[in-house]
C-alpha cells in the first residue's frame, strides 16, 4: 500500500497509482517466474469521462479492465474507486461495489440464457436486496427506456445480437452506477448495430453523465470516446485526446 493517499476529490471517479499486476508462471525447469502483465500504471478518470482503452491482444488491456471492474486485484499499487481503496476490501465488499458502482457490458453479451430479458435486467437489483416484484417493475421501465419492452419475455437466444447487447446495457444501468465498463462491446456485432450501440453509449455519457470506459481495438469505435489510452506491453504509452496523428503507434 502506498502512503501518499490523495485527498478525496469529489470529481474523481477512478484513481490508480503505481499499479502492478503479474502472474506466477512455472517455466520448463520448474522455477516459478513472475510474468508482469501491467507495470507502473498511473491513471485518473474523472466523473463523466468517456475513455477508450486500446492495445494489441496481450498488451494487458483486459487485465486492466478486470482490475478496474474489481473482478481481479492488483499485485501491488493502489486503486481508489469513488475514494474507496479497492485493495483493502473483502470479496463480499467487492461484490457490493460491482453491484452498486459498476455496470458491465461484455463482448459476448453474457446474459443468463435461462432467464427472460426482463429477469436478466432485474438480477442486479435482486443482489442489491430488492424484492422480486419491485425489481421486475424497475427492470421493465429500464427496458422501455432502451426500447426493448416488447422483448421483455424473450429469452436471449430469441434475440438478435444488437438486442442482446441492449438488454446487457439495460442490466448494466439498472442500479444506476456511476461507471460503465464495456469490454469490446461491439466485437460480435455488425457495423450498423455497432454504431447504434455506440450512439447509445454516447447518449448515456452525454445526457446522464455516466462515466464510460471502453476497451476496443477498432479505431472507429474508439473514435466515439473523447479520451484515448493506449497500452503496450503492460504500460500506458499514450493518454490524451482523439487526435490520431498524435498517437505514436496506431493499432489497426
Amino acid at each position: 500500500m502506498s502512503t501518499n493517499q490523495p485527498a478525496p476529490s469529489p470529481t474523481t471517479l477512478i484513481r490508480i497509482a503505481q499499479l502492478h499486476k503479474s502472474y506466477k508462471l512455472i517455466d520448463a525447469d520448474g522455477n516459478t517466474i513472475e510474468n508482469p502483465v501491467l507495470q507502473n500504471i498511473n491513471l485518473i478518470i474523472e466523473k463523466g469521462e468517456f475513455v477508450a482503452i486500446m492495445g494489441h491482444s496481450g498488451s494487458g488491456k483486459s487485465t486492466l479492465m478486470n482490475i478496474l471492474g474489481c473482478l481481479d486485484t492488483p499485485t501491488s499499487g493502489d486503486y481508489w474507486l469513488e475514494n474507496q481503496n479497492v485493495a483493502m476490501l473483502s470479496n463480499d465488499a467487492l461484490a457490493r461495489l460491482r453491484n452498486r458502482y459498476i455496470g458491465f457490458v461484455f463482448q459476448g453479451f453474457n446474459l443468463l440464457n435461462r432467464m427472460t430479458a426482463l429477469d436478466n435486467v432485474a438480477v442486479p437489483l435482486l443482489y442489491a436486496g430488492e424484492n422480486r416484484a419491485s425489481s421486475r417493475q424497475q427492470a421493465m421501465e429500464q427496458l422501455r427506456r432502451t426500447g426493448l419492452e416488447k422483448f421483455a419475455m424473450h429469452h436471449p437466444n430469441q434475440l438478435s445480437g444488437g438486442q442482446q447487447q441492449r438488454v446487457a446495457i439495460s442490466r448494466a444501468l439498472i442500479n444506476q452506477p456511476p461507471l460503465i465498463l464495456a469490454d469490446e462491446p461491439t466485437g460480435n456485432l455488425d457495423t450498423q448495430t455497432s454504431q447504434e450501440i455506440m450512439t447509445l453509449f454516447e447518449q448515456l455519457n452525454r445526457e446522464q453523465g455516466i462515466t464510460i470506459v471502453l476497451v476496443t481495438h477498432e479505431n472507429d469505435i474508439a473514435a466515439y470516446a473523447r479520451r484515448l489510452i493506449l497500452i503496450k506491453d503492460g504500460s500506458i504509452v499514450y493518454d490524451g485526446d482523439q487526435a490520431l496523428e498524435n498517437v505514436p503507434d496506431p493499432v489497426v
Binding site: 478486470n66 481481479d72 470479496n91 463480499d92 461484490a95 460491482r98 458491465f104 453474457n110 443468463l112 432467464m115
Partner: protein, 397 residues
C-alpha cells in the same frame, strides 16, 4: 430452480437415486415396524406375567428325555401352585385332537381340557355365551367352549350357543364362543380349538395313561415385578410335592413366557434397525450421485457464476443458489420416495399378506434424512462454486 427444469433428464436421474433411497428406507422401516407390531399383537393375546410349567425333562440312567416326556405334573400341582402368594391363578391343560360333528358337518381340531381359570390366565375373551364353570369341572359335564375358527367352520352363520355338537360321538352342549385371537408367537392358530372341562376330557375324550396328570399348565404371576419370586416359589413347591431331594434335578420345567416375548420384541427391533441401515446405504449412494451431478453442474455453469459475480452476487448468494438446488432435488426426491415407499409397502402387504406399518415419524424421518443428505452432499459443490474467482469464472469457456 430454472436450472433444474432445463436439465430435466439429468435432474430426474439424480432424483431417482434419492427416490429409490427414500422409498427403500420407508419400505424397510414399515416392514420392520410391521414385524414388531405383529409380535406385539401376539404377545398381547398371550396374557401377561405368564409361566408355562411343563412336566418332565427327567433323565433316566444317563438318557435325557425332553420336556413333557414324563407325566409328572398333576391337576393337584396346579391347584397348589394357584395358592402361592406370588401366583394369581393357574390353568392346567390336557390336550388331544378330536372329531367334531354338527348336523352333517364335521371338523377335526385340537381339544383342550382345562379349568375356568385358564381363560383368564390365557387372556381369552368370550364373544358369545359363557365359559364353563367350576361345577362343570367337578361334575365332568359335557359342555364345550368353541374357538372362533372352529365355530365358524362347524356352524357357519348359525349361533352355536345352546346347540349340541358331537365330540367323538358324544353330545356336548355349546356354552360359549371365544373372541378371535390370531396367531400365537409360534405361528399356531389359537382360534382353531375347543375347550372342555379337564375332568370331562380325561374321562371321556382324550383319556389318560396316568390319571390326574396334565400336559402342561399356564401360571399367571401376581405382577411383573414378582415374576422371579413366583418362579422360585413354583420350583420350591413342585420339588417339595414331587419329593425331589437336594442335588436331584427337577422333573419339571418352568418357563417365563414374558421373557421369551421380550426376546422376540428385541429381535424385531434389531430387524428394523438392520433393514433401515441397509436402506440408508442406498440413500447414501443417492447422496453421492447428487454431489457428483452438482459438481458437474458447477463446472458447466462456471461462466454463469462469473456473470452473476460480475453483476453483484456475493459468495453467499452463489452458495445458497447451488445449495438450494441440491436440497430441492433431495426434497422432491424425498417426497416422491415417500409416496413410492408407502405404495410399495401397501402392494407388498396385499400380495404376501404381510403386516406393514407406516407411522408419521417414519415418513418424517425419511424426509429429514433426505434433506440432510441434500445439505451434506450439496455443500461441497456449492462452496466450490462460491469460492471461484470472478475473473477466472468469467474467462471460462
Amino acid at each position: 430452480m430454472r436450472a433444474l427444469r432445463m436439465n430435466r433428464l439429468r435432474t430426474g436421474l439424480t432424483m431417482l437415486g434419492m427416490i429409490i433411497g427414500v422409498a427403500a428406507v420407508v419400505l424397510m422401516l414399515s416392514i420392520g415396524q410391521g414385524a414388531q407390531t405383529k409380535i406385539n399383537q401376539s404377545i398381547e393375546t398371550m396374557g401377561s406375567n405368564l409361566f408355562i410349567v411343563l412336566p418332565g425333562a427327567t433323565s433316566s440312567g444317563g438318557l435325557s428325555f425332553g420336556s413333557g416326556s414324563v407325566k409328572t405334573l398333576t391337576v393337584n400341582d396346579a391347584m397348589a401352585i394357584a395358592e402361592l402368594p406370588a401366583v394369581n391363578a393357574t390353568g392346567p391343560v390336557i390336550s388331544g385332537t378330536a372329531q367334531l360333528n354338527f348336523n352333517a358337518k364335521n371338523w377335526s381340531t385340537s381339544i383342550t381340557g382345562t379349568t375356568p381359570d385358564y381363560f383368564m390366565v390365557g387372556n381369552w375373551t368370550i364373544e358369545d355365551g359363557s365359559i364353563f364353570s367350576e361345577t362343570d369341572v367337578r361334575s365332568a359335564a359335557r359342555v364345550v367352549v368353541l374357538g372362533s375358527i372352529t365355530a365358524e367352520n362347524l356352524f357357519g352363520t348359525i349361533n352355536p350357543v345352546g346347540k349340541t355338537v358331537r365330540i367323538t360321538n358324544r353330545p356336548f352342549l355349546v356354552v360359549g364362543v371365544l373372541a378371535a385371537k390370531g396367531q400365537s408367537l409360534s405361528g399356531r392358530d389359537q382360534d382353531d380349538n375347543v375347550f372342555i372341562p379337564i375332568t370331562t376330557s380325561e374321562r371321556q375324550i382324550t383319556g389318560n395313561q396316568f390319571p390326574g396328570s396334565i400336559r402342561y399348565m399356564l401360571v399367571q404371576g401376581k405382577s411383573a415385578e414378582t415374576m422371579e419370586e413366583a418362579e422360585i416359589e413354583i420350583t420350591q413347591l413342585l420339588r417339595q410335592r414331587h419329593r425331589i431331594s437336594d442335588g436331584m434335578e427337577n422333573d419339571f420345567t418352568v418357563r417365563n413366557l414374558t421373557a421369551i416375548a421380550d426376546v422376540a420384541t428385541d429381535t424385531a427391533k434389531i430387524l428394523s434397525i438392520v433393514l433401515g441401515a441397509i436402506a440408508s446405504i442406498s440413500l447414501l449412494v443417492g447422496g453421492i450421485g447428487i454431489m457428483n451431478i452438482m459438481l458437474v453442474s458447477v463446472t458447466e455453469r462456471t461462466r454463469e457464476i462469473g456473470i452473476r459475480m460480475a453483476i453483484g452476487a456475493n459468495r453467499n448468494a452463489i452458495l445458497i443458489q447451488f445449495l438450494l438446488e441440491a436440497i430441492m432435488i433431495c426434497f422432491m426426491g424425498g417426497m416422491i420416495g415417500v409416496i413410492l415407499g408407502i405404495g410399495s409397502a401397501w402392494i407388498i402387504s396385499q400380495l404376501i399378506d404381510m403386516l406393514v406399518v407406516i407411522t408419521l415419524s417414519m415418513v418424517f424421518l425419511a424426509f429429514l434424512f433426505s434433506s440432510a443428505v441434500g445439505i451434506f452432499f450439496g455443500f461441497y459443490p456449492a462452496r466450490k462454486a462460491a469460492s471461484l474467482k470472478p475473473v477466472d469464472a468469467l474467462r471460462y469457456e
